[in-house]
Amino acid sequence: MHVDEATVRRIAHLARIKITDEEAAGLESELSAILDWVEQLDEVDTATVEPMIRVVPISLKQREDVVKDGEKADEIVANAPMSKDDFFVVPKVVE
């Protein structure tokens, strides 16, 4: 599967990563090579195979629906690059 430069740019935008023109050119060939390589999976007949959705056959546990943790807004914003009054601060999103 060859991915062209426009596709690389579209994917980069979906992934919210800014890429330079130089990076786009390099990624075009690198991503194409990786996708070509994984195409060998087409050799495997999986028509009747179920996808693996669980690594170990356990069912998820349920817990009591009670509050055990909280009241620590200061800890939650402690590592924020910008915060004010226990809120995260972001650039203006609504005019």
Partner: protein, 492 residues
Amino acid sequence: MTDLTKLTLSEARDGLAEKDFSATELAQAHLDAIEAGNSNLNIYVLPTPDQTLAQAKVSDQRIAKGEAGRLEGLPLGIKDLFCTRGVRTTACSKILDDFKPTYESSVTQNLWNAGAVMLGKLNNDEFAMGSSNESSAFGPAVNPWRRAGSDDKLVPGGSSGGSAAAVAADLCLAATATDTGGSIRQPAALTGTVGVKPTYGRCSRFGIVAFASSLDQAGPITKTVRDGALMLKVMAGHDPKDSTSVDADVPDYEAGLGAGVKGLRVGVPKEYRIEGMSEEVAKLWEQGIAWLKDAGASIHDISLPHTKYALPAYYIIAPAEASSNLARYDGVRYGLRVPGKNLIDTYEETRSAGFGDEVKRRVLIGTYVLSAGYYDAYYLKAQKVRTLIKGDFDAAWETVDVVLTPTTPSPAFAIGEKSGDPLQMYLEDIFTVTVNMAGLPGISVPAGLSFEGTPLGLQLIGKPFDEATLLRAGQAIEDAAGRFPVPKRWWV
């Protein structure tokens, strides 16, 4: 006094119990070794000497009172993927910047509860994505081994390169590590150390920076199989904070090590005899078979027919899960922020500056295979292939108890030698990745030296939650092969 850093974990435990030395002396010996060697080896990205000595002091008090825990006073290195409360945790990525967790990972908490002492945070590939430790934002960790007659700097493998190098260079008694496609076993093989990747669900993933959640698993890197048994016992166990952690008894692995391998059925898969396997690795594999046979095991040829598809399926599943997990690094809640024109632009600038090349590559691959119209062709297909890979092993367990393979196709390579070609680097995991895909336990045990005088490992693969048998078989290989200490401390 003898050099305390040369002790194994279990020897140091016994020495502390006999009061041959104190926890503070043991900690100081390691801090001195780090101080002397770290600038050449780049193994610790953050030594924590104040905390080390404070914890050692508490251990000495507990030992004096007869209240020693299982790992009381034993100094360990911690991979920088484990969150440590109040101590900078970066996953060796710029994007986490100066992140100081306000909580502790469950695995490290288990270690501290048992009395262990932290020496600091260890280098690894950025977000554990790599097989050489070269993708770290702190620069590559260096393998303490060198090729005979050469001063070239070799990689320690990855992603747990700092963990493996630290153990090999005696800069800690043992280290924590994580393994998503081979990241414990491959660096262990390349540094002459023992690496245990437990069954998926054996160790809690809570507080470990996530890479690929259906594949990630924590485990130890140690100097001996016995040390691996001791560490795993403490690291493992059910944790309500991780819904995939399994509520099952954790046996006393160390107590079972001496039972030997008489009657053990060992499978040798023909599909691992790949083209391009070096002659020395092929020879070592034969040697391993002979050792286990001599110790009383029976050898059986088996087939794991979907082996060759494990790596390509992994390079769909792991990047897909990574692209989802790494979406959290948005420059808002923690870590780096690079201001942009608006919020979207801030995300894009931050992630562009914060992620390294390999991480970007994988996030983009993952975004692509999960994007509209491609999900069935890639991700779903890979999940189906994963079922077939697990099925191969399920069939094998009808006739054998463990599987023996080489850990890597070749020994440690020089820094820079493979970094230009991502696909070439991915092949490093060709023998280890099936184990993660099937959720099984695996161990790498040092077994011999390459023509270049650098270490090689053999891998044993076990049934789910049967780490005990794996460790017992690993002990048999160690007994036959002996240990492989680094011949020369050139870094001091």
